[in-house]
Amino acid sequence: MRVEVDLDKCTGHGICESIADDVFEVQDDGTVLIRENERPDADRERMQQAVTQCPAAALRLID
């Protein structure tokens, strides 16, 4: 499973970071950096939460 960000949509609200700060970090330029795109299956629920709660709909999960 991969988590990806569409940087054209991302406005750096930081909701994803508040859900998983080991994976997402909003940079000073206001876009998000993903540390490890490949996520283990055990992390699915948390990643799904980040995707669902992104106010800009900028994140997606790819199986």
């Binding site: 406005t11 750096g12 609200h13 930081g14 909701i15 970071e17 508040s18 700060d21 970090e25 909003v26 940079q27 000073d28 330029d29 206001g30 709660q53 106010p55 800009a56 709909a57």
Partner: protein, 418 residues
Amino acid sequence: MTLASSPRVREYSPHDLSTRRFWSQPFEARDETFAALRAADGLSWHHPMPTMFPMEEPGFWALTRRADIAYVSQHPELFTSARGIALDPMPFEVQQIATFFLAMDPPQHTTYRRLISSAFTPRNVHRIGEQIQKNAVAVVDDLVGAGDVDFVAACSSRLPMLTITEMLGVAPSQREAVAKAAEKLFSMSDDEYSSLEERAHNTINEMMLLSNTGIELAKYRRSHPGDDLMTSIVNAEVDGHRLTDEEIGAFLILLSSAGNDTTKQTTSHAMLALANNPAQRDWLAQDFESRIGPAIEEFVRWSSPVLQFARFVTEDSEIAGQQIKAGDKLGLFYCSANRDETVFDEPHAFNLQRSPNPHLGFGGGGPHFCLGNQLAKAELRTLFRELLTRLQPIEFGEPDLLLSNFVHGIKRLPAHIR
């Protein structure tokens, strides 16, 4: 053909949203009207809101369901902010000064937002956690054993004011004046702040006062750089140019108003709700650290401090089966979305265990989602920890409500603190 699907029929809804009388009712009473609109087909067309400016508009469509507001918020190419976002008819030039980059679309909006967004990232908000903590402790120190107070002045208004003005680098002696001017700017609809005749004039005056404060502060930070938001603003470049004094003034108006009133109102509403629901208060206090996260979401849903913003339609389109035309105005009623019974079970119950809680208290998503949401949550978390662990339950009197169609405000809240 039904009324909702006919492009030509545009009768004003019998449900009134556009008078002072409607907005002088309490939130719960107003939601009876919103509930009727949420349950109806399509969208409803309304008379324009009262305005203090000599402007004429035909009216607006009311968006009352959560899904419709989220859709519009996330499609700025179809529903623009660049023609203004005030539901009350207001000249665009005035809105530009008062709301700055809120009244822009991407990519222009993105450029300005990024100039200040770094101050509001989770990591940078975390960095100022100690400052927020110190200020929250000081606020609650003054409350212990205070007796009869106005809770808004004694508590709710203080932490947001200290936080945003410290971030901006406003001198301590000017902090109260900046917060007061910001409060007045968005409270003009209430007779206590301004008479009908003086309303337009006073609005411009408060805007100029805040703008000049920003310009003075910028002047100082150009020669005396510090580690604050104003220093980054004066050093920022857009397309190779430094910001103009007008733009810097507009930043100060936006940050001081958005950073003050919202969190202040949420604090008052949430404290009142906790006092009215002692079982929930006890539940939260029993395991504060693990329960405050979801509780804050309910504080914000419950309070809905910003009631609405507007958009304009850029091309003929459709929402909820309703034909809408290019140039039409839309009112996005976040207050109604946050009571949408198709999304929230028992929407009128204050329930800290609500999960999920997809409220629109920070907006409907998309580029204009509240930039300060992390800061607001950090302030609320820190302040409520102090309030719930160090004080006996507070007895509250009747809140004195602000008359406004924009801010869900409490002007004064009598309290007895032991």
